[in-house]
């Protein structure tokens, strides 16, 4: 057994068992955090070893659960990337969680939380290592169940139980679909090992290949949070403790991307070009829907969750471009597009978890996630504010941070589409480019709102006014991720070839990985464009410094006078005069009114003596949740109606159940006799 693999299992194991056995308090929290950091570091080391060394790591335990080929692990470069993602986030989230969960003491079970968190990370780490269907599904289900319990942590909060219910239902529908896909794949194979499935996939009919791909897309798409299967995401992610939200948004939804790549790219080896077209369409829909709903959110964590839907949409656009180019035999362009999608997944993991941890610090300090009750936190929480600003700049795709680099790469990976003669390419590329740009602009607006309303101006509630800075371990956790955001932006030239190398060789992607520039200059292999995030950063710093120096030397030396904000003659400024989160998004709500269909409800309570005096005004405005109302509500009603029929079967009597068993057994045997072999 590989040393790092053992250390990883050991780390998470120690964390889980230790958290259960230790008495509560600091020791229990400490051992859980320690397990996460240890396991994460070992996982990261293993992943780097495979990514840089190139040799896959294998481990088979056929005797364990031998009925379905036993447990088998094999970590290739594609899996190593996703394992690295888990490890990368486990460390800061572990460090952060140590003091974050301190506030839970006495309210919720820390033992359960610590153990579940470690098991969650362990199963997430093992999903990309799995090498046969049984192992994959076991780990996948473990990941889903542990995260379900993690979402349930704050079970006494309103909506948490409902959120967890949505999550459980969606994730199991997804599991069933993915399982069906695997079964079709395995129909011609001798065993369910991925290697055999890959060989057998070649002999499948095109119709079966398409079915497998669509099942995988629906199954893993529901985990990734692709529209319209995203409805659980903005419910479940905010309900979980913040460092769990960070892990769920940062890594877990990326494993949906992993599942899709494993089946679509690795096992099936790509397919017709319309697979890519479908992915681009779904990605574009998710990106636009995600960012538009994010803009309207007043709940900080829900805003971040909707923005995850947006970003996973961008990743799917990259994947779609990859499958499209692969289907059109432009393998070099496909490799670049897939690598750009992975790069965006990596970057999103860094900045989204940073933002969730930042939101956690805000929640920790003020006990509210409602931005209309926040404000002015930059004074009480200077560190959190600075880290959140880094995350906001990165997610808005602004240079020179990492979000900009991967959006640039996504954009550039679409340009080779011009070479293609296929008629579907032109509209798809145009759609993808306009969606990329629209979401970038709207995301910038959304994160000006998220940062500006939460951290700037006058506090809008007493809780925000006396907020205090997060404890050291939480700041360290955020700091690690903020540095990651900068490094992933500046070191693009080194990261991009590594990502391309992780994919090269699977399907028909070319093996000698093309160069992505040298030194500090990032360039596209197609020669389409060059840029250098490092030098842009350097330039920005130099010019800012120079401007500061010149102003310092030549401008007036009068000291800055601090005075009240100019207010058009009003006597005193109160927070009620400020722009709120709702007000900030109002122009965009009007622009996209066709989509939002806002309902407004204004009730004024006049003074009984005179209509010129108002006792209270209540304003309520809601936007239409399209997918919930028109897609899921009818579905849920129908399922409820059908379940009345099914209820008749469930009598509660053991005799009846035994009869069902016998009937089922007889049915299967009949099937075997009718269709031998």
């Amino acid at each position: 057994m590989n040393l790092e693999f053992g250390l990883m299992l050991g780390g998470y194991g120690v964390g889980a068992v230790g958290a259960l056995l230790m008495p509560g308090g600091r020791a229990g929290r400490g051992i859980a955090a320690f397990g996460m950091v240890w396991g994460g570091a070992a996982g990261l080391a293993l992943s780097l070893q495979v990514l840089l060394g190139g040799a896959a790591f294998t481990l088979e335990v056929p005797t364990l659960l031998s009925i379905a080929d036993g447990l088998a692990f094999r970590l290739d470069a594609l899996g190593a990337f996703f394992l690295g993602l888990v490890g990368l986030l486990a460390i800061p989230c572990g460090v952060y969680g140590f003091e974050y969960v301190g506030a839970y003491e006495g309210r919720y079970s820390l033992r359960l939380l610590g153990a579940m968190l470690n098991m969650f990370l362990l199963t997430m780490s093992l999903v990309p290592c799995a090498d046969n269907v049984l192992t994959f599904l076991l780990m996948w289900e473990g990941m889903s169940l542990t995260s379900y319990f993690l979402v349930l942590t704050e079970a006494d909060e309103p909506d948490t139980i409902a959120a967890a219910g949505w999550y459980l239902a969606m994730t199991h529908v997804g599991l069933a679909l993915a399982l069906a896909g695997f079964l079709i794949l395995a129909a011609n194979a001798t065993t369910t090992a991925f290697g055999d499935l890959r060989t057998a996939a070649a002999s499948l009919t095109p119709a079966m290949r398409n079915t497998v791909f669509l099942l995988a897309l629906a199954g893993f798409g529901s985990k990734a949070g692709i529209v319209p299967l995203h409805v659980w995401l903005p419910r479940a992610h905010p309900a979980a403790p913040s460092h769990v939200s960070a892990l769920m948004s940062g890594v877990m939804i990326k494993l949906g991307v992993y599942g899709l790549l494993r089946i679509g790219l690795d096992l099936l080896g790509g397919g017709p070009a319309w697979w890519g077209a479908l992915l681009i369409g779904l990605g574009a829909l998710s990106a636009v829907v995600g960012v538009l709903y994010a803009l309207m959110e007043n709940d900080l964590k829900r805003l971040l969750a909707y923005s995850s839907v947006e970003n996973i949409g961008l990743v799917f656009i990259g994947l779609g471009a990859g499958f499209l180019f692969l289907g059109l035999d432009a393998t070099a362009a496909a490799l670049v597009a897939f690598a750009a999608a992975l790069y965006h997944a990596l970057n999103h993991a860094a900045f989204k978890s940073l933002l969730f941890l930042g939101a956690g610090s805000v929640l920790h300090a003020t006990r509210t996630r409602d931005m209309n009750r926040l404000g002015g936190l930059i004074r009480g929480l200077p560190w959190t504010a600075a880290f959140f600003l880094v995350g906001a700049l990165a997610i808005a795709g602004l240079p020179p941070l990492n979000g900009f680099v991967s959006e640039w790469l996504l954009f550039q990976s679409l340009l080779p589409g011009i070479e293609s003669r296929a008629p579907m390419v032109a509209p798809l590329m145009t759609l993808a480019v306009s969606v990329l740009a629209l979401t970038a602009g709207l995301a910038a607006a959304g994160f000006v709102k998220a940062f500006g309303i939460t951290f700037l101006a006058i506090p809008r509630s007493p809780a925000a006014e006396c907020a205090h800075e997060a404890p050291v371990s939480m700041r360290v956790g955020m700091g690690i991720l903020a540095v990651a955001c900068a490094v992933f932006g500046l070191a693009a030239v080194a990261i991009m070839p590594a990502l391309a190398a992780a994919l090269a060789g699977s399907a028909r992607l070319p093996v000698p990985v093309p160069g992505f520039g040298s030194g500090v200059s990032l360039s596209m292999p197609s020669g389409f464009a060059r840029m250098s995030p490092t030098l842009v950063a350097l330039g920005l710093i130099l010019i800012t410094g120079a401007a500061w120096l010149v102003v310092r030397l030549f401008a007036s030396r009068w000291p800055v006078r601090v005075s009240a904000t100019w207010g058009c003659g009003r006597v005193v400024q109160t927070p009620r005069m400020e722009y709120t989160s709702t007000a900030f998004a109002e122009p965009l709500r009007r622009v996209f009114a066709e989509l939002y269909r806002p309902t407004q409800d204004l009730s004024i309570d006049f003074h009984p003596e005179s209509r010129y005096f108002v006792q209270s005004i209540e304003y309520r405005s809601e936007i239409v949740p399209w997918f919930e109302r028109y897609l899921y509500a009818p579905l849920v009603t129908r399922v409820r109606r059908w379940s009345i029929w099914v209820r008749a079967l469930q009598s509660g009597s053991a005799h009846a159940y035994l009869t069902y068993l016998v009937i089922a057994l007889l049915g299967l045997l009949t099937l075997l006799i009718v269709r031998p072999g």
Partner: protein, 312 residues
């Protein structure tokens, strides 16, 4: 030599930008039968602002004071990347057209945060509107770039200019003309000109840019106003040199550089005159009609891309 030219063109942009804003103001005044302030008035205003005392709101944080420098720096950084006098520039490989657009978005981002920071309702109003306009203008800019890039085979500015110069017929290609129209409307939106925003007013409930910078004073305001003028200069230079590249120097001799400066001045004056005439002829749009104008520019850009694909 190339690096000297880089610094020279950035310096030229910084030096000429206030004059360009002054020129539009003067032309507008003449068109409206007013005498108008002299063209160099903005220079005196900047000099005065740099000498004035700074008043900062008691609600404002460090971000309020840092924002003007970041806004100024990110706008100035762009002047090193766009072809103002010559192609190819030594810094051409540092950033392409997308970097230019996102650097300008970076400056808008910080300007909006600076507007929100003092907690004034005007600042919030301006920030909210500015980000709305920026978000809606963004897809148009990207699509216009995409159209140019598809034609030129690169998003790097030097290559786009070189390609149009090599093939003068491309200047009249539908993709080119449509992209020009789209980018021209976006220029008006991004630089706060009529009919989107009125640069001549300070107190109007429809203002965008001025509302956002209302709390700024002294040297901070000077930096922001200067950056706004440079942004106008950049957009004019892009319109002038990307679409009508003649005059831009390709081989570096004193003559070609002189021709480049002269042709740049001519282009700037022509564009300034167009904007001045436009601002005299049309009224400001209601804020909620602005998206309609921007969607027109979006459709133009969309058509530009489609024609690039069809004619390739």
């Amino acid at each position: 030599m190339g690096y000297v030219l880089e610094v020279a063109q950035a310096a030229l942009a910084l030096a000429l930008a206030p004059g360009l804003a002054g020129l539009i103001r003067w032309l507008k005044a003449r068109l409206q039968n007013r005498r108008g302030a002299p063209v160099w008035q903005p220079y005196w205003e900047l000099a005065k602002l740099f000498q004035k005392e700074v008043v900062v709101s008691s609600n404002a944080s460090w971000l309020f004071r840092a924002a003007p420098f970041i806004v100024f720096a990110s706008t100035t950084a762009v002047t090193f990347l766009v072809p103002i006098l010559a192609v190819p520039l030594p810094f051409d490989g540092l950033g392409d057209l997308l970097v230019v657009v996102y650097l300008l978005l970076l400056s808008t981002f910080f300007l909006s945060l600076g507007g929100l920071d003092p907690g004034s309702p005007f600042g919030g109003m301006g920030a909210s509107r500015e980000m709305t306009v920026a978000a809606l203008a963004e897809p148009t800019v990207a699509l216009a770039i995409f159209a140019l890039a598809l034609a030129a085979g690169s998003t790097n500015l030097g290559q786009i200019v070189a390609r149009t110069m090599a093939d003068p017929g491309a200047f009249l290609s539908p993709g080119h003309l449509l992209a020009f129209g789209a980018l021209f409307i976006v220029t008006l939106a991004e630089t706060g000109r009529l009919p989107i925003d009125n640069p001549a007013t300070h107190l109007e409930l429809t203002m965008i840019h001025e509302a956002m910078v209302l709390e700024y004073s002294g040297r901070y305001l000077a930096l922001i106003e200067w950056a706004a003028a440079v942004k106008l200069f950049i957009f004019f230079a892009l319109l002038g040199n990307l679409f009508i590249p003649w005059g831009v120097s390709v081989v570096l001799t004193p003559t070609t550089v002189a021709v480049a400066v002269a042709s740049l001045l001519v282009k700037l004056v022509v564009l300034a005159a167009v904007v001045a005439v436009l601002e005299t002829r049309i009224a400001k749009l209601r804020l909620f009609r602005v998206p309609e104008l921007l969607s027109v520019s979006f459709v133009l850009a969309l058509l530009a891309v489609t024609s690039s694909f069809l004619l390739k």
